[in-house]
């Protein structure tokens, strides 16, 4: 994926989160916890894209790749769990 494609993906994902977070969740019965979790999952996906493609972690030595992937899994996973159950 080249930088322009990553940028367009990030912009579209932002617009999706903004749409979802400004009262456009599909159906009245959408759980706030679910909407919150989806919005934050999109955010951590975007964060991972920036690390990987803009900060060039995908080409980095294995140690740095593992640290960054580990950070995303631990920070993202714990924040998503907190959002789902809060």
């Amino acid at each position: 994926m080249n930088a322009a494609t990553v940028w367009v993906t990030l912009m579209l994902a932002t617009l999706f989160s903004w749409w979802l977070g400004t009262g456009h969740a599909p159906g009245d019965g959408t759980s706030p916890a679910l909407a919150r979790t989806v919005i934050l999952a999109v955010a951590f996906f975007k964060l991972w894209l920036i690390l990987r493609y803009f900060m060039h972690v995908r080409q980095a030595p294995r140690g740095l790749r593992r640290c960054c992937d580990g950070w995303v899994v631990i920070a993202g996973g714990s924040v998503l769990a907190a959002a789902l159950w809060s």
Binding site: M1, W18, P32, F54, C67, W71
Partner: protein, 196 residues
């Protein structure tokens, strides 16, 4: 190759983006912000009605505009660094200036937002939500200001590429700092402005 790192490639095909020591700082700073996210969610769960009512006083459109500005800025910096790797000084400077302009745009929107909130009597002492809003976005804003300074320095370094003077590893460290500022906002924005 689009998105290619500016620093030298090792024989194994791996590249260290910027200086390795800087990554200790980046990961530590990101971890501090991850703790901010947890603190916010923890206290939000204590009083969801107060947090929801306070969130309604924020303008999510300004937050979204700032997110688009930072993403565009990051992309400009990626393209500028790619030009720097080719020693194309004029193209590199042009894109880095574009990145800085988006960063300055972010600052302008944020200052307007802070002035608007304070004008409405909403300060860090209003309630718990606004304490976290001002502290977390304020710490991030400080990062943006430092990042704008880093981009100014990168522009000065890019100008020197025309004289054959390279400082690509330091420039790439600066670029990574700016991308980190972007990715911290990527979570802060939906957490504070959007999450129902």
């Amino acid at each position: 190759m689009p998105g290619e790192s500016a620093t030298a490639q090792t024989s194994s095909g791996e590249r260290m983006p910027g200086e390795s020591g800087a990554w200790v700082f980046f990961l530590a700073d990101m971890t501090v912000f991850a703790l901010f996210f947890h603190v916010f969610l923890y206290y939000r769960a204590d009083d969801p009605a107060l947090f929801a009512a306070s969130q309604d006083r924020l303008n999510p459109h300004l937050g979204a505009a700032n997110t688009l500005l930072l993403l565009t800025s990051s992309w400009c910096v990626v393209v500028g660094m790619r030009a720097a790797a080719r020693l194309d000084a004029s193209v590199s400077v042009r894109w880095l200036v574009g990145g800085l302009a988006c960063g300055v745009g972010f600052c302008a929107v944020k200052i307007y937002e802070y002035a608007d909130k304070i004008g409405q009597g909403l300060t860090p002492r209003t309630n718990e939500f606004f304490t976290y809003y001002f502290v977390f976005t304020g710490v991030h804003f400080l990062h943006v200001l430092i990042g704008c300074g880093v981009l100014l320095w990168m522009i000065s370094q890019a100008r020197r590429l025309a004289d054959g003077r390279r400082n690509l590893s330091h420039m790439e460290t600066g670029a990574c700092f700016w991308h980190m500022v972007d990715l911290l906002w990527i979570v802060l924005f939906p957490l504070i402005y959007l999450c129902p």
